[in-house]
Structures are given as structure tokens and as C-alpha cells.
């Protein structure tokens, strides 16, 4: 198996878990290492228990893994929750002034630091974090200079005295660790690569900017708010109008107003906010105005678990809004794909003049990953579809909803001379005039319904089918969708290494589904297991409804925490041994 190293940092919210996390992320990325970070936290500003796992390695790291190599508990609670779960070779660095360990498992090293002794000016608890980071770097074989640079940047705003205080404290902890603690057997590697550290939400926002979004609006809702934050921070430079709206109903309607007027538009929310948007989504389809909506899923139903992940909104997306209408739904496969998919979705929504939904989740959106800058190339293809942007010179009457073979009618934006028309959410004729009131006409209603639905064939042709990764004749085929790509990939590697050859079919485009391709692949598979982060097997039920395909087994998780590779590995083994066809792995870590 490839080399990875994982650091776990935990404490109460407000204790400064993020700061050492960011320092590690910077150090790893600057050494040319990949990383993936997942923060388990709660909906509380101060208190509770926050646990950040940051895993690094020279090759791509796609999930937070199964193992903590270095634990940094910032309080007793974190020590108590996590010490028992460590395995041989792991180390714990902690402030011995305030934290006491219980008996550690065999092979786990305790590395106590006395913040009081090491730091002449340990006035606050953030200092212990810095000391722990410094000691860690010594044990990981990373030179002190890297940390010195980062601390200088970090504390620059607070003045030279604070910078000096932190660096001198850090240096004494580094030296203490060098003298007293055995280093890890493998020093942290280094490569020539350079990576950006990006969250899924940042990638979604940047993807929108690259696609030419000029209007972004939202109502704050975890875990989607990071998109709003990136947009708001970069709006002026990027020339993007960013609005915080009174509610998600206002959001979708404002977005559609802007989109109808000719700008590329995007909004992001989570499941509850999306529920408020559903009527608006139907309007987008009915007046044929493209809009891109991001739903960052969290654990439901209702307010649910706001800070926990789930893939529980698939059916809400499939059924959003009344009536039948064309829609495009896709789930990004990893953090870089949040960027790529967003750029693709804007082109499709514009081409087919219908809503496009991006189904992210907390795991991707709030997770951090190292991303090759090449995968954040803003120079992306732009296809605005059949958009009319210059005046109608010949005086021909304009039919906004012209019946065409493709179902797509050329779209003129308000303000253009010669194309004056009214769009309506009521059923209408080709010129936009209502047929729903006194002129109802079943023939025309049918023609308009069929015109809109004809776009579906075009969308199907525009969307690539999924593909199988790994050996074609594997013992097991794991099927997932969206954010589970990385963890399934790693589980498949582990299983294959243990003699159970495993391949993977990961679904990105949900609507259209490419059902024929999927069933074509799966009917060749020996044993099919669908892995998803929800209770009822939403994708399994969808796949069955579209294709009649029924898999051999299911692995589901709905406790709020994402899958770890061993959850899937053990479940597959259970199923191969005939113990069950529905595995629900227990999450061992109490966060």
C-alpha cells in the first residue's frame, strides 16, 4: 500500500483546532505532498468536540483513511475519546500540564510536553497548539525553518513581538522533541510538485467564476456557506454581483431573474434551503431560463444534523417541483471535480435552457484537498447555447418558444430591440401567450410539453457515460455515486491486495443516468454492491426504477460521518461470507 501519514487534532470548538490544521496543510502542500482533511464538528461556536483528521502522502490522498499516526489532543476529552483507537506505531503529543492519558494501547507512544516549562510566555491555550505542531514536525523529520516561515506569516498582523514569542516557543518545543522523542520511522517525504489546498466549496465557487458567473446569491446555510464566502471575498475583483437574500425562495427567484436577463447565475444551499427552491426550479424549466443550483447535502431530515454529511437528497433532487420537466443532476466525484463539474454544468444548463443541479455534500464541500493548479484552470470552454444578444433587424415576429426538433428555442434577453416578449410560468404558446386561462388548448399543451421534453434526448447525448475502474473480471464490483469515489477506490485497493479483486463503478451524472451503459457493465459483474451514505439506498432505488437492476448487496451509512475504507472492506468480506446483504458499518469514533 502507498505511504500515508495522518494527524488527528481534537478539542473543543474555539480551542483553535483549525490553526494547527492549516499549518500542517501548508507544510504538506509546500513539500509537494498530497493531502485530504476532514473535520468532524458540531453546530456550536464554543465547546463540544471537534476532530480534524489531516492525511498526507506523496501520491493522491482521496479520503481521511482508517488510521491516525499522530494524535494531538488539545483537551482531556479528546484524549479520552481517541487514545483507545490508536494502533501500534502511533504517537500522542499533548500538554502534560493539563491533560493526563489513560493506559495507551500496545505500541502507542506518549509524548508529553509541558507547555508551562517550554514556553516562558504561555499566556493562552493557542500556544500549546503551536508547541505541539513544532514537536510533531521534529518527529516527522521536517526542518524547523518551514514552521518558522509559516508562523511569521501567521502572526504577522499581530506584530513582531507575537511572532517572536511564537517562534521561540516553537523552537524550544522542537528541540525538546528532538532530544526526548523518537522520530517516526519514515521521515515525511518531499516531492517537486506544488499544490493548492482547496475545499470543495471553494472549488465550486471558483468553477462558477471560471464559467463566467456574474450573479451569485444565497442564504447562509451549512455546509454550503463556504461558496458564499469565496464569492463575497472575490466579488469585486472578479466582477461578480453577490447578494445575500432573505430566504432561499428569494434566492432562486432572484437568480432566475438575473439569468433571464442574460448573465450566468449560480446559487448554493443545503437540503432545507433547496426544499424552498423547488417551485422556482420549475419556473426555470417552464420559462426555459437556465440556472445552476448547488445542493451541499447534510444529514436530514428537516434541520437534521447540520454539521454532518449524508447523500440523502437524491430523491429530493429527482422529484423537486411539480410536473415533468427536463433537469440535469450531477454529483462531483472529488474536490477538484467540484471545479470541473461546475464549469460543465453551466454549459449544459445554457445549452438546454433548464435547471442544472450540482449535488455536493459536506464531506467534499468542507473537506480540504491538495489540488494540482492545472486542475483549477480558469480558461474553460464556454457554451452559452442559442442565446440572442443583438437586435432583431428584420422585424420578423419573434417566438420565444419556437417549436424545434431539438426542443431548444433561441433565447433573446430583455433590452434587445425587436424581440419584445413575455415569458410565463403558465403554459404558453410559441410566442409566450398563455394557454392556461381562457384559451386552453390540449393540442398546444401537448406540443409545448413535448417540445420541452425533447431536450432530454439532447442532454443524454451530451453527457458521458460512467466507466468501470479496476480489473474487468473482478470478484466484486463496488458501485457508488459522487463523493464516495475516493474511499471506495481505497477500499477496492485494500480488498484487491488481500486477494479479493475489486473494481468500481462511480456515478457522476445522475440525470441523465445512462442506464443502458450501467446495466451493460453490471450484468458482467460477479458480485455487485452499492455503497452510499444514506439509510434507504436512494441510488439503489433510483437505479432499480430506471433500469430494473437489483444489486447483490448494499453498504449504507447514515450516522452523519463519512465512510472510512475499513468500513467498506469489512462489509464486503461480511457479504462474501454470506453473513448479510445489507451492511451498516458502525462508526467507532465518537465525534
Amino acid at each position: 500500500m502507498k505511504y500515508t501519514f495522518a494527524v488527528g487534532i481534537g478539542g473543543a470548538a474555539g480551542q483553535g483546532v483549525a490553526t494547527p490544521g492549516n499549518i500542517f496543510a501548508k507544510i504538506f502542500a509546500r513539500r509537494g505532498l498530497h493531502l485530504f482533511a476532514y473535520n468532524a464538528y458540531q453546530s456550536i461556536i464554543r465547546g463540544g468536540h471537534t476532530f480534524l483528521t489531516i492525511r498526507t502522502g506523496p501520491e493522491e490522498v482521496t479520503n481521511h483513511g482508517d488510521r491516525i499516526d499522530l494524535l494531538i489532543p488539545l483537551n482531556q476529552d479528546c484524549m479520552d475519546r481517541h487514545l483507545d483507537l490508536l494502533g501500534p506505531g502511533a504517537a500522542v503529543i499533548y500538554n502534560s500540564d493539563s491533560i493526563q492519558p489513560n493506559n495507551p494501547p500496545d505500541g502507542v507512544r506518549l509524548c508529553p510536553l509541558s507547555a508551562r516549562q517550554l514556553s516562558a510566555s504561555s499566556r493562552n491555550k493557542v500556544e500549546q497548539n503551536t508547541l505541539a505542531v513544532a514537536a510533531s514536525l521534529s518527529m516527522m523529520g521536517v526542518g524547523f525553518q518551514t514552521l518558522e516561515e509559516i508562523l511569521s506569516q501567521q502572526f504577522k498582523k499581530k506584530g513582531d513581538a507575537v511572532v517572536e514569542e511564537n517562534i521561540s516557543g516553537a523552537r524550544s518545543a522542537y528541540q525538546y522533541a528532538t532530544e526526548h522523542f523518537e522520530p517516526f520511522p519514515t521521515a515525511l517525504p518531499r516531492t517537486e510538485n506544488g499544490y493548492a489546498v482547496v475545499t470543495g466549496n471553494m472549488a465550486l465557487a471558483m468553477g462558477g467564476a471560471a464559467a463566467g458567473v456574474k450573479f451569485y446569491c444565497a442564504y447562509p446555510m451549512s455546509p454550503s456557506t463556504g461558496v458564499l464566502h469565496w464569492m463575497a471575498a472575490h466579488a469585486r475583483k472578479a466582477g461578480i454581483m453577490v447578494r445575500q437574500v432573505e430566504d432561499e425562495i428569494g434566492v432562486i427567484n432572484m437568480a432566475i431573474g438575473a439569468a433571464h436577463t442574460g448573465v450566468r447565475t449560480m446559487c448554493a444551499t443545503s437540503g432545507g434551503g433547496f426544499a424552498l427552491m423547488t417551485e422556482g426550479l420549475g419556473m426555470s424549466a417552464m420559462i426555459e431560463t437556465p440556472v445552476v443550483v448547488i445542493n451541499v447535502q447534510r444529514a436530514g431530515p428537516s434541520t437534521g444534523v447540520p454539521t454532518k454529511t449524508e447523500q440523502g437528497d437524491l430523491w429530493q433532487m429527482l422529484g423537486a417541483g411539480l410536473g415533468d420537466y427536463p433537469r440535469i443532476i450531477a454529483a462531483p466525484l472529488d474536490i477538484p471535480d467540484c471545479f470541473k463539474l461546475t464549469t460543465e454544468m453551466h454549459n449544459l444548463a445554457d445549452r438546454f435552457q433548464c435547471p442544472g443541479i450540482i449535488l455536493s455534500d459536506l464531506l467534499l464541500s468542507e473537506g480540504h484537498a491538495s489540488v494540482d493548479p492545472k486542475d483549477l484552470d480558469f480558461n474553460v470552454p464556454i457554451d452559452r447555447g442559442e442565446l440572442i444578444t443583438s437586435p432583431n433587424g428584420n422585424g420578423e415576429p419573434y417566438k420565444r418558444y419556437l417549436i424545434t426538433e431539438s426542443g431548444i428555442s433561441p433565447r433573446a434577453i430583455p433590452g434587445l430591440p425587436g424581440y419584445v416578449h413575455t415569458v410565463a410560468t403558465d403554459e404558453h404558446m410559441e410566442d409566450g401567450v398563455l394557454i392556461s386561462d381562457e384559451f386552453t388548448d390540449p393540442v398546444k399543451r401537448r406540443a409545448m410539453m413535448e417540445k420541452r421534453q425533447r431536450k432530454v434526448a439532447g442532454i443524454e447525448a451530451a453527457v458521458p457515460p460512467p466507466w468501470l475502474t479496476g480489473p474487468a473480471d473482478a470478484d466484486v464490483t463496488l458501485i457508488g455515486w459522487g463523493s464516495t469515489k475516493g474511499v471506495i477506490e481505497e477500499a477496492a485497493e485494500i480488498l484487491t491486495a488481500e486477494g479479493i479483486t475489486t473494481n468500481q463503478l462511480q456515478i457522476r451524472w445522475l440525470v441523465p443516468l445512462n442506464g443502458d451503459t450501467i446495466t451493460g457493465i453490471l450484468k458482467e459483474s460477479r458480485r455487485t454492491i452499492i455503497v452510499e451514505n444514506n439509510y434507504s439506498g436512494q441510488f439503489a432505488r433510483y437505479l432499480r426504477s430506471e433500469t430494473s437492476f437489483v444489486p447483490d448487496g448494499h453498504i449504507r451509512k447514515y450516522d452523519g460521518e463519512p465512510f472510512m475504507p475499513h468500513h467498506i472492506v469489512e462489509a464486503v468480506k461480511d457479504q462474501l461470507a454470506g453473513r448479510t446483504t445489507l451492511s451498516v458499518p458502525a462508526h467507532e469514533i465518537r465525534v
Partner: protein, 299 residues
């Protein structure tokens, strides 16, 4: 109809005739509102392609189909949110929102409040008939206490909201009340409202001749008094406006209650629109150097 306006010839009401004639009940107050709006646009010489008329759902919200401007007939209660998006995407457009009291003060109440607070530059004409008409006669947010309707057969026990007071409290920068039985007066108010840079609200008494037998044309005709005929009334005085706004009974004021011009409209306050013209006309994409900076800050 779709002819290009090539020369600066004066526009007439005929230029704003829609593709179809209104399907409102004969005698409906909404006819007067539509006529006043066409006259206002013609008088201000705003070409049909320079204006967007946006509505929600309801009898009065059918209006965009009956007028020759760009139009959007959106969702029940959502016209102001859609209109905000339209205005910010292209602030060169004249945006007019029309709709009823149920649409604007009931289901759309939240957007009403926040559009006023934001001072979005548009004219909002509420065609207020104190009843739900298209759903065949139920109580509305402006129905009087005790009013008997299909949903309140024994009389409403809920008091009405006062849209003028609400608008004053929410920070609207142009607030007026019209009556469709006073078409010239209404046209003048609409012209002022369109010219006003900021959120302009006109609550128009637009009687429902089918379902509201309380608030009829004769009922309003006896009661309405024009603020303009009182030379001492100062529409820049918010306190005076608040006092007038609460008058109801034998005398009901119509006209301009309040206007202030010292607050920038949202499109003026938003720095993204300072240079570069309307968003709708700007080049799509991010310059390479800026894109490089955005990635660089994450390294």
C-alpha cells in the same frame, strides 16, 4: 408589434398594446391600472424593449401579457425577487412590477419588506382589491376586519395590514397610493415612480367588481382625497407621511405620501456596477492574471 424603434418619434399608448386583450371581468379596476401604466411609459418615451414588466400570480398579475414590453409572469409572490435579479443583471432596464395584495403582501410579504430595505430601483404597483379574486373570493391581507368572504363566512377576525405604513417603516424611498378610478392622477404617480431612482411603491385601489362588494368604485369615490390638493402637505416629511398613512374611514388620502432621494439605489450602492456597464453585457470569464492570483492564494 416587434418593430424596431429606429427614430425618436414620440411613443403613444398604442405602442404598448399587448399581444392579447385583458381577460379581466368587465369593470375590473385593473383596466384603469393597465391604461395608466401604458400612458406613463408613453409619456416618458420609454421604448417597449427598454422596459420589463414583471408579475406574480393572480388576476392582476396577468398584466405583463397585456402590455407590449419585455415581460415575466413569474410565481405567486415572487415577482419582486425576480425583478431584483433583472435590475441587477441589467440596470439600464426600467423594471415595473405589478401584482395583487395577496401576491405582494401575503405570500410575497417577505420579498416586499426586503426589496424596500434594499432600495432596488423599480416601480412596484400593487393592484389592491382587498380580496383574492382568481381563487374566487377569499379574505386577503388587506381585507377589513369583519369582512365576509368565502374563507371568512362569518366575518374576518383578523385585522388588515396597512401597506403604506409598512412601506414607510421598511424604508421605501417613494411611497404613493392611487385609485384606478382616477386614471390621470394614477398616471402622474406612475411617471414619478418610474423616474424616482430607488424603490417606488404605489398601492392602487383597484376594485374587484365580482368578489368585493364592500370596497366598490362608489365606496372609494366618496372617500379618496388627493394629497396634492393640500398645499401644506410635505412629502419629504416622514412623520407627516406616517400620520397621513394612518387615515382611514370617511376620508382616505391618495397621492404621493413620501419621497426621499438621499439614499442610493442598490445598483448605485453596489461597487461591482461602478464600471463596466450592465452585467448582462460584460464579457464572460475571468482574466488569466486574476485567475492565477485566485489559485496562488491557496498555495
Amino acid at each position: 408589434m416587434a418593430a424596431v424603434i429606429e427614430t425618436q418619434v414620440a411613443l403613444t399608448v398604442a405602442d404598448f398594446k399587448g399581444k392579447v386583450d385583458p381577460d379581466w371581468c368587465p369593470g375590473c379596476g385593473d383596466f384603469g391600472v393597465l391604461a395608466a401604466l401604458k400612458a406613463a411609459l408613453a409619456d416618458l418615451n420609454i421604448a417597449p424593449h427598454e422596459a420589463v414588466t414583471i408579475s406574480g400570480i393572480g388576476c392582476s398579475s396577468n398584466l405583463p401579457g397585456f402590455i407590449n414590453t419585455y415581460g415575466m409572469h413569474t410565481l405567486h409572490g415572487r415577482a419582486l425577487a425576480v425583478a431584483t435579479g433583472v435590475k441587477l443583471a441589467n440596470h439600464d432596464l426600467h423594471v415595473i412590477v405589478t401584482g395583487g395584495d395577496g401576491d405582494g403582501f401575503g405570500i410575497g410579504g417577505n420579498h416586499f419588506l426586503h426589496t424596500m430595505r434594499r432600495n432596488v430601483d423599480l416601480l412596484y404597483v400593487a393592484m389592491d382589491n382587498q380580496i383574492y379574486g382568481l381563487t374566487t373570493g377569499q379574505c386577503s391581507p388587506t381585507s377589513r376586519l369583519g369582512m365576509k368572504t368565502k374563507s371568512t363566512p362569518f366575518g374576518s377576525v383578523e385585522g388588515p395590514i396597512n401597506p403604506i405604513v409598512l412601506a414607510l417603516a421598511a424604508g421605501a424611498t417613494f411611497i404613493a397610493r392611487g385609485f384606478s378610478g382616477e386614471p390621470k392622477h394614477l398616471t402622474e404617480l406612475m411617471k414619478q415612480g418610474i423616474r424616482h431612482k430607488g424603490f417606488s411603491f404605489i398601492d392602487v385601489f383597484s376594485p374587484c367588481v365580482t368578489y368585493n362588494l364592500d370596497n366598490t368604485y362608489p365606496w372609494f369615490k366618496q372617500r379618496v382625497r388627493k394629497l396634492e390638493s393640500d398645499s401644506s402637505y410635505d412629502p419629504t416629511n416622514w412623520d407627516a407621511a406616517m400620520e397621513k398613512a394612518q387615515m382611514w374611514g370617511d376620508e382616505i388620502p391618495i397621492g404621493k405620501f413620501f419621497e426621499r432621494t438621499d439614499i442610493p439605489a442598490l445598483d448605485e450602492a453596489e461597487p461591482v456596477l461602478d464600471v463596466g456597464g450592465p452585467l448582462a453585457h460584460r464579457r464572460v470569464g475571468i482574466p488569466a492574471e486574476l485567475a492565477r492570483q485566485f489559485v496562488e492564494e491557496l498555495m
